[in-house]
Amino acid sequence: MNSTKAIAMAFISGLIFAAGLALGGMMDPVKVRGFLDIFGIPAGRWDPSLAFVMGGALIVAFAAFRREWMRAKPWAGGVFEFPSAKQIDARLILGAVLFGMGWGIAGYCPGPAIASGLVGGSSILIFLAAMVVGMLIAKRVAK
């Protein structure tokens, strides 16, 4: 998994992901919050951009994960390791609720936050530092 090939593919994939976020407007917290502001629909201030971004991403993602269209092994070797968890439990729901709250407050989810690391000024650095702390705390307490 850490061959030169795998590292290069992951790096390029990261670049493309960032380009997609940027073009999609997802690096602008105002647009993200504008999407979550569905009660603004009657007032005409709802911004559906995020739905188009997710729609576009899903079209390709459905194809990406079609088992029938997959080779026996990943291009970089190794094995396919997709998540296998199926349970819908309190942990999943509580985690999603807390994440959604933070997302609504700042307009950043992890991808756009990291992609904005070098361009978002001091506010994004504070957000990222807190996000890392939050991740480490969760790794500790939720084993």
């Binding site: 998994m1 795998a6 992951a10 790096f11 994939s13 990261g14 670049l15 493309i16 992901f17 960032a18 380009a19 940027a22 073009l23 690096m27 602008d28 917290p29 919050r33 979550l36 951009s49 995020l50 971004v53 997710m54 576009g56 991403a57 390709v60 993602a61 194809a63 994960f65 990943p74 970089a76 190794g78 997709f82 998540p83 349970q87 942990r91 999943l92 509580l94 985690g95 999603a96 807390l98 994440f99 959604g100 709250m101 997302w103 609504g104 700042a106 950043y108 992890p110 991808g111 361009v119 978002g120 506010s123 504070i126 957000f127 807190a130 702390v133 991740m135 705390i137 969760a138 939720a142």
Partner: protein, 134 residues
């Protein structure tokens, strides 16, 4: 080009990134999972490579297209939001990319539920903040 078409193209690019990670490395492109695991797991070279690409790509394209981003949170709300996002995504095993794109892309019911819940929580939070004039 209409802004929604550009957003759709942005989404397709994210999909291509997900495609490369799925077929090339055999992994889902869940940013919170990649970031959190990079911090603690061994053999995370590919994770750091992805995160570096994301960071540099974000900088490069923002500079190239002269994009603007306006922070919506300030003061204490920023670190609180960061904590919630970091803690919540690890506890709930995913974020917008992991559950919202890859999980739904894999037709995982668990991910569909998570996505509906975090979207609803985000919508409720924005509505509450608006009501409080924040």
């Amino acid at each position: 080009m209409h802004p929604y078409v550009i957003s759709l193209i942005g989404g397709l690019l994210i999909g291509i990134s997900v495609f490369i990670m799925a077929r090339g490395l055999g992994r889902v492109t869940g940013i919170s999972g990649i970031a959190a695991s990079a911090l603690v797991a061994r053999d995370s070279g590919w994770r750091w490579a992805f995160l570096l690409g994301l960071l540099l790509g974000g900088w490069a394209i923002s500079s190239l297209l002269n994009l603007s981003a306006t922070p919506v949170a300030s003061g204490w709300s920023l670190p609180i939001a960061g904590l919630l996002v970091g803690f919540g995504t690890v506890l709930g095993s995913g974020c917008t990319s992991g559950h919202g794109v890859c999980g739904i892309g894999r037709l995982s019911v668990r991910s569909i539920v998570a996505t509906v819940v975090f979207m609803a929580a985000g919508i409720a939070t924005v509505a509450l903040l608006r009501a409080l004039q924040y």
